[in-house]
Symmetry: C2
Subunit: 256 residues, 2 copies
């Protein structure tokens, strides 16, 4: 069997420990193409760069592993890699391993999941891996067998068009197993820390704590992570609320 | 009846014609609070500012209209407005009117829809308005009766928790009416334009054209806009693919 090609990016920058761990884990089973941000671009969601030019350059190339850095957002990285190397379509696109949790509605803010959503829109099976530990020196070793399992399952089963996977690992080094979950619903609260500028006026740092408000918390990714499980949440690109279409057609009144 | 409070933001900056048109249309029926980016922040999706401080300042205040500008992303603007003015929760949050189409999967890239998704996550009925015309001098006047209808319908019916509206207007000045739609599926192609730097090397501009790949195009927002309709697409925050959860539980094999 021909070795698969895996396109990898992240939002912590190409030097981050998480992405280099991912490359090391997957290099034995696949050819690896990396296009990752030059610097950290956390919290970029699906942002694209529309007003500035984007640059990329080769970092290193060895047998089966080619690494580029790119000045764009995580989504730009995927778009640019697919544009520049059309001769071989990746079998899988992976974002991560992210330094920090991307469970629940954090998918909307996550640059890692931006990569995955972009890959999915391009019709390529895509997976995001995130570890609930922000430390640059976090220990990723416990993730190894789970990453290999998930990637091998996706290589075997593929994924439906329009569906991608969000895989989140709790910070605990020993896992209870894997749980297939739903996206935890909730919101961030107490989100700003005000500081005074030495020359007058205030400025604000985005902080906050996540407050879960979920009607079925037992099935939610965040809950299962708290219980020590690796949480896999299938995510769909189509955000249409179909039930609401019917309700609006039946109950809302429109004048033309 | 007490006048409702509407929180407005956009991704084209507080000076844009679209947001000022929206303020003018809604000021007769509501108190208006604006927190909008200082400059254009198109294509920011749900991006947040995590590595820099955020500033805001008053632009103007008159009877029933208060306008602030903010250095953050569109999502930051909503988070900061809700944090700084907690004494009165907005009845509705609105993004727009955007200079440019946000139909279909463009929701993922759209700063305007970032505003709406953020408002929705905060449990407040939220609406995005976009006009399929990028010109700074676009004529927004034909939108007036439709904006008022949609806002009045949301004030009357509210919206379910976790659901928001994406309203897109075709560029044509006369509309056939309103259609309740699904999010058009598809992808951007031919996305990069390569230029040569005068001092060597290449740089890339993000361009591209949208290619629809939708199994039910007749119900899709993009299609109905092409037919001259105002397209309203209900969008849900929960991106879980529930069908895939069942499939993965039944057919995928996991070792623990």
């Amino acid at each position: 069997m021909k070795r698969p090609l895996i396109l990898i990016s992240n939002d912590d920058g190409y030097k981050a420990k998480g992405i280099n761990f991912l490359i090391e884990v997957l290099a034995p089973i696949a050819d690896i193409l990396v296009m990752a941000p030059t610097n950290g671009r956390s919290g970029m969601g699906c942002a694209i760069t529309s007003k500035d030019p984007v640059y990329y350059s080769l970092v290193e190339e060895e047998q089966g592993i080619t690494i580029f850095k790119c000045t764009g957002t995580p989504v730009d990285c995927i778009k640019l890699a697919l544009h520049e190397f059309p001769e071989r379509t990746p079998d899988i696109i992976i974002g991560g391993v992210n330094h920090g949790d991307n469970s629940g509605v954090n998918v909307h803010y996550s640059g890692t999941m931006g990569i995955v959503i972009e890959g999915c829109m391009k019709g390529i099976p895509s997976i995001g891996f995130s570890l609930d530990n922000h430390s640059p020196e976090a220990d990723f070793e416990p993730l190894r067998p789970y990453i290999l399992q998930v990637v091998n399952q996706v290589l075997e089963h593929s994924l439906p068009i329009g569906t991608c996977l969000n895989v989140n690992f709790p910070a605990t080094p020993i896992y209870e197993g894997i749980k297939i979950c739903r996206m935890a619903q909730g919101e961030w609260t107490q989100e700003w820390e005000r500081h005074s500028h030495p020359r007058g006026g205030d400025y604000y740092w985005l902080v906050g704590s996540f407050c879960m408000r979920d009607e079925h918390p037992e099935d939610a990714d965040r809950t299962n992570m708290t219980d020590g499980y690796v949480a896999i949440t299938p995510i769909q690109i189509d955000m249409t609320d179909y039930r609401m279409i019917e309700e609006m057609k039946a109950e809302w009144s429109w004048e033309s």
